[in-house]
């Protein structure tokens, strides 16, 4: 209960601040001054963050409507009561801090090391697949193939980690080899789509979809029980019955914990999260502070202008896709090399969700590597909340998938939100439309488009120097 009070106080503060901001801005506008708030608000990044937050809030809101819709119905023959609704709504927001129920049957909250640790563990591959989608997006490519690259990376990591005997080679060296094997495998796989795009001008979305399924079938065939060349890596013991690949811990290969398990006892967390964050920061530096990153972005904003400025756009498109694939491969390596995760891919009819979830992560983080760290954690948090909802209430865990899908749907509107925020589109049009009203809006929009194009051209010229 105290938690809810705290939350409402927080909400009240935010609302108060927002009203203050709006009022002071209006005042300043009328007197012609600029306040620090206006400068802050005028920043492009502020608007990006706000529009992401709007997408999250809308997603959560509509998701909660689903919970409300099912009150009074029978789920699995279990009756959903109003209490379930209240609990589920709480868990959507604070599931991560839930520590169970007290004697009275109401939910109690506090520091839950297991949940938070698991959240960070789940966020690890999400950060990297999110980066994978995000980096490709910076170059104007929509990497829907993260799932396939992830699968190929998984296969490479597991094969290397399990086939080199740890009695001969130090497990840490095996770990590093497996990690890089996954990156290289993912990069090579993704560069198929990159090459197709660069040299044959085939839409990368279609090639990615095709390579995804080819990857799923290929990996299934590699670990096929009877005919697969790597079937000796399958675990024959009792209940596993050749359905799962050995855990890498079987060969002594495990990601180091480095004390993180003492902060989050009993959780799956390991050093992988730190590696993922380091990679994200590296990507941030590469994209924003180097000529290489600049060329990547130039190809994304205007391929022809980039080409004109002497940037080899074909090379950068291929390499961008390869980097994206490498990141997806790294995601797979960090997840499966942890030592206690099992891999089975007998179902060639489906693709790993974590690859597709890279899309919402990247979109929410507006493709900024630092933003992606936060949005990946948020998505992992939603996952954990979903599990808590299943355990604690009559609802099932798919509500969290619904919410994250809704968030992607709403983040497709990010551009609209941004335009509303910067006043380019008026939310509440006057009912009486004057004759010159609609063209006015269009003129403004066209101007910005033209301006943006000019901007990129200028930037490219700078880059040339």
């Amino acid at each position: 209960m105290t938690f809810i009070v705290l939350f409402s106080i927080l909400l009240a503060i935010v609302i108060a601040f927002a009203t203050y901001a709006i009022i002071s801005t209006k005042k300043a506008k009328s007197s012609g001054n600029t306040t620090w708030l206006m400068k802050f608000y005028a920043k492009e990044s502020t608007k990006t963050i706000i529009s992401s937050l709007i997408a999250i809030l809308l997603g959560l809101f509509v998701g909660c409507l689903f919970l409300v819709m099912f009150v009074g119905s029978d789920m699995n023959g279990r009756h959903v009561s109003g209490f379930d609704l209240v609990d589920a709504l709480q868990l959507v927001f604070f599931g991560i801090f839930n520590t169970g129920r007290n004697a009275g049957g109401s939910l109690i909250y506090g520091w839950n090391g297991v949940s938070i640790g698991n959240m960070l563990f789940r966020a690890t591959p999400l950060i990297l697949t999110g980066l994978s989608v995000g980096i490709a997006y910076k170059t104007g490519l929509f990497n829907i193939g993260a799932s396939g690259q992830y699968l190929i990376g998984t296969a490479a990591a597991l094969i290397v980690a399990l086939s080199i005997p740890s009695t001969v080679v130090n497990p840490i060296i095996i770990w590093i080899l497996a990690f890089f094997a996954a990156i290289i495998a993912g990069a090579l796989w993704a560069s198929i789509a990159g090459l197709f795009k660069a040299f044959l001008n085939v839409n990368e979305v279609i090639t990615c979809i095709m390579t995804n399924w080819i990857a799923a079938i290929l990996v299934t065939s590699l670990f096929d029980k009877t005919t697969g060349p790597f079937n000796f890596l399958l675990d024959p013991s009792g209940d596993k019955n050749y359905k799962f690949v050995y855990k890498t811990a079987h060969n002594g290969v495990e990601t180091l914990k480095l004390g993180l398990d003492s902060i989050f006892p009993n959780s799956q967390i390991n050093f992988g999260i730190v590696i993922a964050i380091i990679i994200a920061i590296l990507m941030f530096i590469i994209i924003n502070k180097t000529t290489f990153g600049y060329s990547l972005k130039a190809c994304g904003s205007n391929k022809h202008a980039a080409q004109y400025a002497g940037i080899n756009s074909k090379f950068y498109i291929t390499i961008s896709m390869a980097i994206a694939g490498g990141l997806s491969g790294a995601a797979a390596a960090l997840y499966y090399l942890s030592g206690n995760t099992e891999f089975t891919w007998s179902t060639y009819q489906s693709l790993p969700q974590v690859g597709f979830n890279g899309i919402p992560v990247a979109l929410l983080g507006s493709c900024n590597p630092i933003g992606i760290i936060f949005s990946a954690s948020f998505m992992a948090y939603l996952d954990i909340s979903g599990l808590q909802i299943r355990n604690m209430t009559m609802y099932n865990e798919y509500i969290s998938s619904i919410i994250s899908a809704l968030i992607v749907y709403f983040s497709a509107f990010a551009l609209i939100f941004k335009q509303i925020l910067s006043g380019k589109i008026k939310l509440f049009k006057k009912k009486k439309i004057t004759v010159d009203d609609p063209p006015k809006i269009e003129v403004v929009m066209n101007n910005t488009e033209v301006k943006e194009e000019i901007d990129t051209k200028e930037e490219v010229k700078e880059g040339e120097e």
């Binding site: 095709m210 399924w213 992607v408």
Partner: protein
Amino acid sequence: MAYFIQQTLVFMVPLMIVALAGTFSERSGVINLALEGIMIFGAFMGVLFIRIFSDAGLTQAQAQLLLVVGILASMLGGVLFSLLLALSAINLKADQTIGGTALNLLAPALVMFMIIAITGSNTINTPSSLDFMLYRGDFGIPEGKDLNLFEQIFMNKIYLSNWYAIIIYIILSIILYFTKFGLRLRSCGEYPQAADSVGINVKKMRYAGVLISGGLAGFGGFLFALAAAGGASTADVAGMGFLALAVMIFGNWNPLTIAGAAFVFGACKCVASGYSYIDFNGDGIYALANLGISKYIYMMIPYVATLLILAFTSKNSHAPKAEGQPFDHGQR
């Protein structure tokens, strides 16, 4: 041979109808990546409504009526779900690829949430007492008679829904190519500003394209659930939606070639799933099983073939020119 053709039809008909769905949407200028999601939702709606109506007292005697109910419900579901895409792509001018991907994520989550809510397990089935298949007896062929090839394919163990689908396919293809409406729809995918300048309402046309697409894809999902999944909806259509996209590109956005492409893909799928049972000439030798090629190779063929075709034909592929671009009055 008859087995081969019938099994091919199981995959070919949904692929072809969903590829036509994609064609309608893309020809009107909206990329429909959400086909997979719409199929999932349509399949769920079809199965759900059959359950509802059979609970209301319809039995095996009205099985063919129930089948029609299922088809209509799946179409309705598809139309409703594709409204979300239309709203984001046409009215809000959002990125169509992202919108479609969002719906692909949303559909399985939503359907799974509801399936678990309704049945408590991971699947929802049509009632086991119902059998929608038509047998030789239904066509008045006596039990002892040897069937010729025609009768084997068309008069024994068939789903009427497949033939409804083929009829709808033909009618809609004619509409797309030989009517005023079809011409207008296609013009909106090629050069919407030109269409707009002669008084065609581009938004309406695009809505029509996306909603027809939704109805067809929903129907396709139901066909798949009925014939390939044995009347079960599991929030999964095994990537058929994406495969249909490939069929559409393979068929160059043209219904006639799409039908051919769907046959090739359907045959590959059929070979992959049951190659050890296929007996082409009826001599009791399962030729493909004896070749000793891994089933995974057959599974990969459609996807690899699509990639190769794309590689070789990208220069003269006729994708609608304006697909993926939000319509803007002011642009010229």
